[in-house]
Symmetry: C2
Subunit: 215 residues, 2 copies
DNA sequence: CGAGACCTGTGACAAATGTCACGGGTGACC
DNA sequence: GGTCACCCGTGACATTTGTCACAGGTCTCG
C-alpha cells in the first residue's frame, strides 16, 4: 500500500508477524480477514488448539500470538505458559468469551501481555496488537476492575480440589474415589466450601468457584 | 469493482444484502471483515442480540440474515421464527458453536435456509450465503447425519418442562413452585425421565436432554 | 514448646432426593 | 364403551446429601 514509506512518528520497519489460535475455524478465518486488512500486520500461521499453537510459535517465532482461552488439548493460558517459558520474546494476547476474574490472575501470572474479551469492538483489536508488539501491555479495563474488586479465594487447596472434581462427577462416591478420599471427608470439605461460599449445594459452590476463576 | 458487468452465466444484478447478528462484537466485526471482502455481498447491519436482529431485519429487509444461535434476549432460532413469520422472503442462516441434533430440528421447523457450525472453514461461508440467497438450502452434513441417527425424544411434554426448569433450579421445591406443582409430582416426573434416559440424577437427565436438543 | 491452620477420618443426625405403588382425572383412538 | 397415554397427586420407603461434633495427624510460625 504505502511501499514502506514512514507514515507516523515511529514507523515500524517490518510488519508485525502474528499467529492466531482458535479452535473454531470460522472465527479464526474471520479474524485473519479482519487483521489481514491492516498493512502493518502479517499473519504467519493459524492453530487449532493450544498444543499446536505452542509448537508453531516456537518454530516460527512470531512477534505476537493471539490465543483463544477455550481450546482443546491445552487452553490458552497453558499454551502461553509454554510459549513464554521457551520464547520469552514472543508477546501473548489472550482472547476470551467469558472473562472470569481469576482467569486474568492466572494469565498475568503467566506473564501474558494482553487480555481482551470477545465483547471488544473489532476495530480496536489491531491497535491492541500494535501496542503489545511495541512492548506495552493491554488489559481490558472492565475485567481488570472486576479482578481488583473480587475478594480473594477463601477456600483451601483441598476444598478447591473437591470442587474441581464436583463439576464432572455426579455423586459424592465418585468424587471420593477420584481423589482417594473417604466419602465422609469429601462431604466435610464440601460442607466447608458451601458454608464459606454461602451455596445451597455442592454444585452451586462449584459453579461459584468456577465463575470466580478459582478452579 | 465490476460496474455491474455480468461475469458468470447467471449474474446477480444487485449485491446480496446481508445482516449479521452476534453478541460478541469482536466476532461480528471479524465476520464483517471476512464477508466484506466479497464484492457481491453488502453488509447492511449488525445486531447484538436476537430481538435487535429481528427488528433490524424487519426494517431493512436484507436478502440474508446470519444469526448466531447463542444470543441474549432471544436466541437465533427465536429470532428466525419472528423474522420468517413476518418477512418470509428473508433467508436465514443459523451459525452455532455447539451443534446439537435437536437444535437442527427446531431450526428446520422454523424454516431456516442454512445451518452451519463455527467449525466450518471461513472460506466456505460466502459460498453458503450465495447459495442461500439464490434460494437453495445448506445444512451442514455432519450435523444432519447426527440428527438423523439420533433417536427421537422418549419424554413427555411435562417431563421436558420439569427438566427445563431443573437446569436453573437447585431444589425440587424450586422446580415445583416454578411450575405450580406439588413436590411429589415433580419427583415422579424426574424419576420417570431419569429412568427413560438412564441418568443417575436429575441434573444428568437435564444435561442429556439438553445435549440432545430436546429442551 | 504451644497455637493455629490444614488434612483426613468417624459417627450421628436431619433434610433432600429418588423409587415405587397406587389413586383419580382427562382426552384420544379403536 | 374400553384401552391407553398422559397429567397430577399422595404416601411409604431407601439412599444420598449436608451438618455437626470430635479426634488424630502434619506443618508452620512465634
Amino acid at each position: 500500500m504505502s511501499f514502506g514509506t514512514p507514515q507516523g512518528e515511529m514507523p515500524r520497519q517490518a510488519p508485525i508477524r502474528l499467529l492466531i489460535a482458535d479452535d473454531e475455524q470460522l472465527i479464526r478465518g474471520a479474524l485473519e480477514a479482519l487483521l489481514g486488512l491492516e498493512p502493518d500486520i502479517e499473519i504467519v500461521a493459524g492453530a487449532d488448539d493450544g498444543v499446536m499453537a505452542a509448537e508453531l510459535t516456537l518454530g516460527l517465532l512470531p512477534d505476537v500470538c493471539l490465543l483463544d482461552l477455550e481450546m482443546p488439548r491445552a487452553d490458552g493460558i497453558e499454551a502461553a505458559e509454554k510459549i513464554i517459558a521457551e520464547a520469552p520474546e514472543v508477546r501473548v494476547i489472550i482472547v476470551t468469551r467469558h472473562a472470569r476474574p481469576g482467569v486474568l490472575r492466572r494469565a498475568l501470572a503467566a506473564r501474558i501481555s494482553g487480555f481482551v474479551p470477545k465483547s471488544m469492538p473489532a476495530g480496536e483489536l489491531a491497535d491492541v496488537i500494535r501496542d503489545v508488539a511495541a512492548g506495552k501491555r493491554y488489559i481490558d479495563p472492565e475485567i481488570a476492575a472486576a479482578a481488583l474488586t473480587a475478594e480473594r479465594c477463601p477456600l483451601t487447596e483441598r476444598e478447591l480440589d473437591v470442587l474441581r472434581v464436583t463439576r464432572t462427577s455426579s455423586s459424592v462416591q465418585d468424587i471420593a474415589e477420584a481423589l482417594f478420599l473417604s466419602t465422609g471427608t469429601v462431604r466435610n470439605y464440601l460442607s466447608a466450601a458451601m458454608t464459606k461460599l454461602g451455596a445451597a449445594n455442592r454444585r452451586d459452590a462449584a459453579e461459584q468457584a468456577w465463575q470466580q476463576g478459582w478452579i
